[in-house]
Amino acid sequence: MSPETAIVAALAWPLAGALAISLTGRVSANAREAATLITAAGLIWIVWGLVPELLAGGRPAVALAEPIPGISIAFRIEPLGMLFAALASGLWLINSIYSIGYMRGNKEANQTRFYTCFAIALAATIGIAFAGNLLTLFLFYEVLTLSTYPLVAHKGDGATVRSARVYLGLLLATSIGLLLPGIVWVYTAAGTGDFTPGGILAGHIASPELGLLLALFVFGVGKAAVMPVHRWLPAAMVAPTPVSALLHAVAVVKAGVFTITKVIVYIFGVDHLFSEPGSGWLLYAAAFTIVAASIVALRQTNLKRLLAYSTVAQLSYVIMAAAILKPLAEIGAAIHMVAHAFGKITLFFAAGAIYVASKKTELGQLRGIGRRMPWTMAAFTIGALSMIGVPPTGGFVSKWFILAGAFEADNFIAIFTIIASTALNAAYFLPILYMAWFEAPAKDDKPHGEAPPAAVAALTITAMLTLAFFLLNGPVIRLEQQLISGIAG
């Protein structure tokens, strides 16, 4: 399969899978689940098959249509998008195994709709990852928002629908009200919106307009959850846990920070942005979000909401790393997308496994649960340590790169923020670990065992990945070093 065919296949295959899932769903649940797993495995085969081409320096591109002269619906793979697509497709398979255990264990309704929307959301994610210009990216960004709405509103009761409304309303309003004008501005000023190494805005837009344009992108991409447009993420926690795990720890939120990083690297241009005074505020906004979200997380009593605020903080790590505007920090931004994905999906898997096995959702109920669910809590511990950044977990690697970038830029705000947030992360995760492992269960606690085997298997795999990424991160770093070629030190 030529790389160009593979791009089209990577978009079409999950959509074909969605069709197959919705058709087989009427026949039998087993056939439907088989369709999901085959689609996910096939997508990995297609997407990961492109990695050697990228490592060899290839940049496969394909254009589908040209609605307006000069503006096409086109795809072009570069290292950052490759990484994002490989990550999302790889974790989709693990998440699908987990979903089967979770959805069956909970006897959820409308499972066919669930798996169908999931496949469409993955197609949109691949579209975002491979987009060759701003308009294409925007299209798939909106498809991702719309296709995940039924997943968030899955339960369908009043409170869920109200939260889903916040989710949809905030993401649509920011993207149409801020992101789209920003994109139109880029096209009119630069005459193009193609993602070009080195950026396209140098010589077209300068300060102070540049700072305003950056704001349109940062707050227009609501999925990146920079405060104050983060409210949708805690609201989205009403979704079934597999949705929170893959979409609200990996695909959707990473689509947000991916978009911002990609725009900084390929539209604004790192060097152009560094030389302009109007862009400095982004670092402060991200740093504020990291600290504020961590403090809010400290006060949560519901496990999933705590994880959501932790995600808000971790996403801003990526943005802050990108905003340091130094090569090592840009690599750190890309790696943190991966490291956080492994760790956070493990944490959500664990939270979901606890819910399936015991219907527990609050922190106070977790006393002594480590003895009843040792596998789950071991994985949870690894995920939590990765969030804090303790070796030997993946979280340490990305923090290392971000700190190195911050030192390179002599950026003490960033250094201080990383230290403060590490302390805060420890402050909200360690008490949970202590309660789970070292305290005795409450008296009225009903005994229970582990979650369904499929769920436990999935969270064990992601926990292993979190550990493995500490040592085996070479290919990822090699891929992302291509990202920074040409950026001044």
Partner: protein, 496 residues
Amino acid sequence: MDNLLAQLPALQVVVPFLTVPLVMLLKPRGFAWLAATATSVVCFAIAIAMTSAILQGAPLTYAMGGWPAPFGIALAVDAFSALLLLVITGASTLTLIGARASIDSQITDARQPLFYAAWLLALTGLSGIVVTADAFNIFVFMEISSLASYVLISGGPDRRALPSVFKYLVMGTIGATFYLIGVGLVYMMTGTLNLADMEARVHEVGDQSPILVAAGFITVGLALKAAVFPLHAWLPNAYTFAPHAVTAFLAACATKVALYVLIRFDFLVFQPNLVGHDTQFAYFLMPLAVLAIVVASAVALFERNLKRLLAYSSVAQIGYIMLGASLVNDAGLTASVVHIFNHALAKGALFLTVMALAMRFGDVSLDQLAGAARRAPWTMAAFVVAALSLIGVPGTAGFISKWYLVMAALDEGWLAIPLIATIAAGSLLAVAYVWRIIECTYFAPADGTEPTGHVPPLVTGVVLIAATANVYFGIFTALPTTLAAEAALALQEALP
């Protein structure tokens, strides 16, 4: 084959016209619908055939009765008219295919043959206005289409349609009369009714004042017909109380045909010959267009009835079309013509979904539609897609025209800022009034009673096709943009 092609401009009008008496006689249930739909399909095919001929390069002309142009009545079809014909016949065909059940429920059996006959007369009139190259002929076809639309609008069971249609009749007649006065003045000074011939002769006239007066009468008369703000007062009630199928048909094309005549007449006859008339045209219509976009969108924000809400949105969208034309440049005219096509797609699809919703829920007030999305998921999905097109979200047809419009406005120097602000404000208001509908249909809890209406799969199918067209023409834009670019060029040909 070439022989047949040469006859198509005439057949476009003659085919529906000659079927009218036949349809009136078809009493047995369903036959009148079948005959009208078949005729409409033939008309659509004729329009497609002419469009493909024009895309290959040859404008079509036809001399009625064999009399050559300035003496006899000439028919002429170029890119602009072909685009309008596609909109008119396409809207009529798609609506008729899907509307049978709705019309059955709203029009008594005995009156159905007359209803379909009036429909075909409206189709005849609207197509006639577009194909003819003769100013008086335009008036005749305008009267045919208007009288037929009065009948169509008042044909439904809602008695509130009667006062609305009376208002429409009075205002429509004033509009037509103004147009006729204008044409009379030009005829008095030049002695010709053929548009191309007028263009050649107007500058021979010594005293230009009557021509200027004629320009005023014609512009105001057609603006009345086209519901250009603030002459739109007839439109909301007429659309709201008409039978649902009629609203879908007329909303897609009726006002646009009047705009077509307005733009064509002004650019062909007046602007090349009257000194400074392009500035008059621009500065008369641009403020009205801006007001239409802002005021009508704001009014739509407060409407509780879905049809009225969409009717006010139509008034705003006419503003966008006028805004493009009032820039009097290539990009603006292209934007204007593209928006004629794309707005027809969006509004036609929206009113078709309204028709389907009305069949299911009986009434289309927002209160009645609470929680509708759970009962009619496909219809509401189509509604959302068409509404996104109305807003102008990328990936839909509406975005293409907004993009062209913004690009056209950017050429205007300092004027670009208020114009783009207007477009942005209009789009945001559209987001707001669409969001109200979505909130109500998707999020409001439904009252316990199960709606009794039944929607045949054919209706849902038509609605989905109309919504899909909005996405298709948002990505594969060659057809409307090529036609619009050619139309814009042709319109400016006569300009100095």
